[in-house]
Every structure is written in structure tokens, then in C-alpha cells.
């Protein structure tokens, strides 16, 4: 009856959504095109988004002179290894918490839920201190391990709630066939948990790639282990001022766009991951 009527309400909906879309996309578009402006043009400012002349030299400078090749490799190592560690440590813990009951379990789950609310900055110095005690300081593994530890509580709960929902029939059959507790884990539960493992991996990668405070504190004494986020922002604080702006904008694009591209191709997984996490609260 009232098919596709252009009503006042409908126009309002579009106006609000389009304005929000512009707000959300603008900084990224600005940064992307800004990184191809020449240093002079970028510093002149003005109202143009597109570069007058395409200039790729900022990337060359960032890559060679400002050590961004190293930072990019560091970011990849940190994020990649965080994913690996998170999946191994987290999936085992999630399995135990999903399939057994023991006296301390409710307390353990409650603690995992509560620690997510402790401000990160509160723990940062003792973590720094702990890494010194363990002789990890200045080693890229200090960042990987602490990044894993800081993400685990949420991801373990996420994986645990998924594993709880897997039917127990399969593991009961396997038990009759003589499978041990651990064997049931890697023969049955792990393959069935693939979707949630993918989500957890995505989260762990994203958080490690974007993390700032933790790697900032742990790379203070050794700039060679900095990831991209810390490397870009260090240029701002180094007091080279405006002369480093074009390197910073190129570095920012390097730090942001890999995630953006991955997201645009796989946005369903990101959004479903959030929704899966929210079911538990």
C-alpha cells in the first residue's frame, strides 16, 4: 500500500545517517589523501582533501629514514605472536572452564570478569617492573606476553561461553572410545570451535596492532622494538615539530590502513564477534 513513499521521516533518517557516515569516514579519507601531498602542500593547509600533485616521497622517507620498515615488522611480529599465544593458552583454559566443574571455577570466572574493569594504567608500572625482574626488558617478547595477558580475560570468557554451547554427545562418545581429556580437546572441541577461534584471533590481532600504552611503556628503553603506533607518535613528541609531519601522516596511514582493508573485506566477522561477546554482557 505505502511502498517506498518518500516521507519527511525517511529523509531525516538518511540525513542523519549520511552525516554520521561522513563524520566517521572523513578523518580516514583526509589522512589517506594527505599522505600523498608534498610536505609543503600538507603544511600549507587549506580546504583541499585531494593532493594538487601526487607525491609518494613521504612513504619513502618514513620507510627508510624514520625506521618504519622496522616498526612495521615489529607490529606484525607482536600481533601475529599475540594471536598464536592467545589461541593456545586461551582455548585450553576456555575448554577446561567449559567442560569441567571444580570448586574454584565460579570464583575464577568472576575474577576474570572483574579484572577487565581495572584501568590499564594502574597495572602498567608493576608490569614494567615484572618484565625487568624476568629479564624481558627491551625484548619484543615482553610486549607479546603482556599484550596476550591483558587480552586473555575477555577472550577466555568469549571462547568459554561458545564451548559451553557445543553439544556434549560427541565428547561422551569419544570418552567411551577411550579418548583422554586432552585428546577430546584437540580432536573434537577445537575443530568445532573454529568460528569462535577465528573471532578471538581477529580481536587479539586488532587489539595488539592498535595497542599504545603497553608497548609505549615497554619500549621506552629500546626504540628498536617499537610497534607502528608507538613509532608514529614518538615523532610528535621528539620535538622535530612540523618538519616530521609528512612522515607522521604516512606512518599513520601505514598503521591504520592494513586493519581497515581487512575489516572492509571481513566486516561480518568483526561485527558478529562483538555481538557474540555482548550476549554474555
Amino acid at each position: 500500500m505505502k511502498k517506498n513513499r518518500i516521507t519527511f521521516g525517511r529523509i531525516c533518517i538518511y540525513v542523519v545517517l549520511i552525516l554520521m557516515t561522513i563524520y566517521c569516514a572523513f578523518p580516514l579519507i583526509y589522512a589517506f589523501f594527505g599522505s600523498f601531498k608534498s610536505s609543503v602542500e600538507f603544511l600549507n593547509g587549506g580546504a583541499n582533501i585531494l593532493p594538487a600533485e601526487w607525491d609518494f616521497s613521504s612513504y619513502g622517507k618514513a620507510w627508510k629514514e624514520a625506521n618504519f620498515a622496522q616498526y612495521t615488522i615489529n607490529s606484525l611480529i607482536i600481533s601475529g605472536m599475540t594471536v598464536v599465544l592467545t589461541l593456545i593458552v586461551g582455548s585450553m583454559a576456555a575448554y577446561v572452564l567449559a567442560r569441567t566443574s571444580f570448586r574454584a571455577k565460579p570464583a575464577l570466572l568472576a575474577v576474570l570478569g572483574l579484572v577487565m574493569f581495572i584501568p590499564n594504567v594502574v597495572l602498567i608500572f608493576p608490569i614494567f617492573h615484572m618484565c625487568q625482574t624476568l629479564h624481558l626488558m627491551g625484548n619484543i617478547w615482553s610486549i607479546i606476553i603482556t599484550q596476550t595477558a591483558s587480552g586473555l580475560p575477555f577472550l577466555v570468557i568469549l571462547m568459554q561461553s561458545y564451548m559451553v554451547s557445543i553439544s556434549k554427545e560427541m565428547d561422551e562418545a569419544a570418552e567411551i572410545d577411550g579418548c583422554s581429556f586432552f585428546k577430546k580437546f584437540y580432536l573434537i572441541i577445537l575443530p568445532l570451535s573454529k568460528p569462535i577461534l577465528a573471532t578471538a584471533a581477529l580481536f587479539a590481532f586488532k587489539n595488539a596492532w592498535n595497542s599504545y600504552l603497553l608497548p609505549l611503556a615497554l619500549s621506552l628503553s629500546k626504540p628498536e622494538i617499537r610497534p607502528l603506533t608507538v613509532g608514529v607518535i614518538a615523532l610528535k613528541d621528539m620535538g622535530e615539530g612540523i618538519s616530521a609531519w609528512n612522515i607522521m601522516i604516512a606512518g599513520s596511514v601505514l598503521a591504520i590502513f592494513p586493519m581497515v582493508v581487512v575489516y572492509l573485506f571481513m566486516n561480518r566477522f568483526f561485527i558478529e564477534g562483538i555481538t557474540a561477546g555482548s550476549v554474555k554482557g
Binding site: 578523518p27 593458552v89 577446561v96 596476550t148 591483558s150 586473555l152 607518535i233 591504520i256 586493519m259 561485527i271
Partner: protein, 304 residues
């Protein structure tokens, strides 16, 4: 009897496997979460600069904390920014969730782009906002001047008020899509029949929203707002990168204040910083608890 021995052995093997599989997580948790928390509490009762050994000094740090005006200013700013974030982000993200959920074209496109900021690093986006809002080369002033809205560049980050506006713009930018998706998930869980019967009863869209959507969001609304508030209290990346607390410490927030005392290159004071940390944790927990109690009561009454 043989069976009983075997059963006991199996049980022991099971317990051993359970323990070994939990162990890596427990170790990480202990080393990088439980221990740091207690170490902070211990350090908060000492005088410690990171070089010489910590010396016990009772509650001196806490006494100093109460008189530390710049700390309470940071606390005030944290409350202000969190409150603004709440007032802007919760209604806006709920509105966006409802709009994206309505029958319109390009639903997927809007949802994808509005959520996009969530995958970026807030710290890096801080740099980009810093460029956008810089006074002489920034594109925001550039556009405003070309439109003839302002005669000369505004120093966005040079004044307390406008710097806070930029911080809130950045904070909203990075949070809004995430909150929207959470609301969207909650809205989609509401049974469709309720809306159908409301339509049959002649309820308008607004009435449906008020008497079906809002009350049924109940618990999720509480969870999402709580997240928004707790995020506000952790605010660090954006402020550190955009203003560094300036001008003159006027935009400093709790987390930044603590960080500066821990890692200041000229004379860090870890003992004092720990006391401030403990105080910040209490403030965060207290606000969370108070908010939880108030909203539980409200939602409880609505349910009856």
C-alpha cells in the same frame, strides 16, 4: 576392586590434565594482573623513585594526594569528559541503531562505515585529529575559513574548552560505532510480534520505541552504558596524543596523570603514582557500583 583403582587413576589423570591446561593462563594472570595489582597497593605505602629501594612511609602518599590540586583537577576533567561522552554517545548510538535497523536502503553500508573507526588505533587517530585541528595548517580551519564562517584560524587545542571539544569529538568518533552495534544486537533480540501487535493497537513509531524498545532493552542498556562510563574513566590515548594534558595541565585526565608520575623522565615518583592509581581504581569502582545500583533500582521498578 581393579575397577576402583583404575577409576581413581583416571580421575587423577583427569585432574592433572585439567590443571596443566589451565596453568599457562593462570601463570600469565598471576604475573601480569594479580601480582601487579598487589604490588601497586604495596608501593602506594612507600617512597619510591625506581632507583633506590622503596621505603615504607605509611599513609604519607595518601595525605599528599588529598591536597594535590592538579590531581583533583584531572579527576574533575575525567568526570566531565565521561559525562559528556555518556550524554552524547548513548542517545546518539541508540538512535543510530534504531535508524540502521529500520527498513532503508544501504543499511549495510551505513553500518559498515559507522563501525569502521572501531578497528583503528585511537592513538593514531589522535595524530590525525591533531593535524585536522591544528590552527594554521589544519583542514578544519581551512574549510571554516573558505566558507567564511571564521575570519582567522581558531586555536582549537590551545584553549581548554575547545581542546575538550576536540577530545570529545575524537572519543565519540572511536566509540559510536561499537555502541551502535551493541544496541543493534540488543534491539534485534526483541521479538517482532511485540511490534506487530503494537502496530495493530495503533501505536506510532515513537510510542513503539518508548513502550516496547526502551523497556525491553533494560539490562543491555545498563551494560552498554556501564561500558561507556568505564571507557571514559580509562581515557588515555586520545588525551595523551592530542593535548598531552595541555594547555597547562587543564585537560589532564586520571590515567594520563598517573602515567606521567610513573614514567616521567625527570624524577618519576612511583610510590606516589601507585597511591594515585589505587585512588583511581576506587573512584572507578565506586562510580561503576553507584551507577549499577541506581539503574538496577530504576529498571527493577519498571519491571514490576
Amino acid at each position: 576392586m581393579n575397577k576402583a583403582v583404575k577409576g581413581r587413576r583416571n580421575k587423577r589423570a583427569l585432574h592433572l590434565q585439567m590443571f596443566l591446561m589451565l596453568l599457562p593462563m593462570l601463570i600469565l594472570f598471576f604475573l601480569f594482573c594479580a601480582y601487579p595489582l598487589f604490588y601497586s597497593i604495596y608501593l602506594s605505602f612507600t617512597k619510591y623513585n625506581g632507583f633506590t629501594d622503596p621505603v615504607f612511609n605509611g599513609v604519607d602518599n595518601y595525605l599528599r594526594l588529598f591536597r594535590d590540586e592538579s590531581w583533583w583537577n584531572a579527576v574533575k576533567n575525567t568526570f566531565q569528559l565521561t559525562l559528556m561522552a555518556y550524554v552524547i554517545q548513548i542517545p546518539l548510538s541508540l538512535l543510530l541503531a534504531v535508524l540502521v535497523n529500520s527498513k532503508i536502503k544501504g543499511q549495510n553500508f551505513f553500518r559498515t562505515i559507522i563501525f569502521l573507526p572501531n578497528v583503528t588505533s585511537t592513538a593514531i587517530i589522535g595524530i590525525i585529529f591533531f593535524f585536522m585541528f591544528s590552527s594554521y595548517n589544519g583542514i578544519v580551519n581551512g574549510i571554516l575559513m573558505q566558507l567564511g564562517l571564521i575570519g582567522r584560524p581558531i586555536e582549537w587545542l590551545g584553549h581548554t574548552f575547545s581542546a575538550k571539544v576536540v577530545i570529545i569529538l575524537l572519543n565519540t568518533w572511536s566509540q559510536i560505532g561499537y555502541l551502535m552495534i551493541m544496541f543493534l544486537a540488543a534491539i534485534q533480540k526483541i521479538p517482532k510480534e511485540l511490534y506487530e501487535s503494537a502496530t495493530l493497537d495503533g501505536a506510532s513509531k515513537w510510542q513503539q520505541f518508548r513502550s516496547v524498545t526502551l523497556p525491553l532493552l533494560g539490562e543491555m542498556f545498563q551494560v552498554i552504558s556501564m561500558m561507556c562510563i568505564l571507557n571514559g574513566f580509562q581515557l588515555f590515548d586520545s588525551v595523551k596524543v592530542l593535548t598531552g594534558g595541555g594547555p597547562g595541565n587543564q585537560t589532564s585526565v586520571m590515567a594520563l596523570y598517573i602515567y606521567n608520575y610513573f614514567f616521567n623522565s625527570t624524577g618519576a615518583q612511583q610510590g606516589y603514582a601507585s597511591a594515585v592509581s589505587v585512588c583511581a581504581t576506587f573512584i572507578t569502582a565506586a562510580v561503576g557500583a553507584v551507577y549499577f545500583l541506581i539503574t538496577s533500582k530504576k529498571f527493577g521498578q519498571k519491571g514490576e
